[in-house]
Symmetry: C2
Subunit: 277 residues, 2 copies
Amino acid sequence: VRTTTENAQLALLLEVASTPKPGNVDREREYDDLRFEHFLAGAVAARDGLRLAAGGEELGVAFERAIAGMSQQSGGNTQFGAILLTTPLLGAAAEGDLSPEGARSVITETTVEDTAKFYEAFEHVDVAVSDPPDDLEPLDVRRGAEAIPAIRERGLTLGDLMERSADQDGVAAEWTSGFPRTFAAAESIADDEGAVTDRAARAYLELLAEEPDEFVVTQHDRETALEVTERAAALTESEEDPRAFAEELVDRGINPGTTADIVAGALFVALERGLEV
Amino acid sequence: VRTTTENAQLALLLEVASTPKPGNVDREREYDDLRFEHFLAGAVAARDGLRLAAGGEELGVAFERAIAGMSQQSGGNTQFGAILLTTPLLGAAAEGDLSPEGARSVITETTVEDTAKFYEAFEHVDVAVSDPPDDLEPLDVRRGAEAIPAIRERGLTLGDLMERSADQDGVAAEWTSGFPRTFAAAESIADDEGAVTDRAARAYLELLAEEPDEFVVTQHDRETALEVTERAAALTESEEDPRAFAEELVDRGINPGTTADIVAGALFVALERGLEV
């Protein structure tokens, strides 16, 4: 039987191996400077941080360690969002309650120190985020550790911070609402049949068809994100092969990263609940 | 900087991700019952054993633990040979001497207890091996732990056992001769350019062109292994895309597993020597 740490690492690997996942790196599609192998290396070196989270370590400490490891490859940001989404789920598993309530409870207990470690994590890697409103400029995550004094001054816990970002960040939205899309996708993967990477690819397309991907909104605009959602919805209702759509999104540099992050979290939940590989 | 354990795990992952590797599972080709995802799960759960080897634990103990982990997936034998090949290299790295001499020295120090653990490892998974000569039937590895009394009686160290198998097992041949093909392939990967998984795929084809794969001899016959070698040699000298050959070998169920094992070991050596991913 795999440990919780092993399931978290395997979830990261299965996510990137699942194909086709239109717009994201998968085992059949990659970018010249962001390759499949970078995701493998990211998952390998994230493991020590994942282990800390699975052992009940402070969420911020575990997250920062996982990101420091993940960044030990030359592709840049491979799994920042996936690890951010999965860390509270690991905490919930450590408490023996991997459920929406368990995850909420872990997040409610976050402190200002978790926020400080979260900001430190941005020192390791460039993450694409949208500009904060003017009054929140001192809290811009891209300032990294420099923003920590402002964080402490305001007494902002990591749960608070995520709540503030929930309307423009799909991972933060999951944090703040008990991970509804993650748990639903976990069920859909568990109830599906066949190879796990095929199941995860189908779950990805369903999630993509359901809601605009906030990472696409950040990198492009809402119109593009809506177009992707509609095209994905049409594909889930047709017999058409999603591979052409996958090629097109990669060519256009449209990368629904939040949707992939949710699939990684869903795979972790499904594995913890007994999904066989 | 990645640890030795992380490099060993990453080597297993990069090996299976490298494509095309004619006849072996890679990220574009798999069998219905032996899939890419099984190799990911194998590499994830092998890590605790790899960590023991990297920490200088007895070779047999570390190997058995890695195989016990690797077997925690439903595809069967994914990386038995790759792990067997890499374990003494991990031991050599633990001694600070990852070289032919370092590996020889680790193997010279093996004991009967290492052999006993090696036999225990066969309890976890079915491995395709050839029949032993009649007088060695009591030592048939497929007897697993049952063979241990006979092992102890003969005082056979793991180094001795490998020497006896070297003429019919390509991994044992590497063990007994200071890993010449593994170290040469590591250099060829390090000197090559481009994505690591492309370099490893080229190294695989060169190795395949160089010598008949003993695993193909075991599963089919020497004639088939020779045919594969000649076809691979022709490909390395032409501009032809090896993908058609890859499809053909998978269709015919011809699986040059030993060659893939050597590539995994070579990737480990190259990573330890600073190959960037």
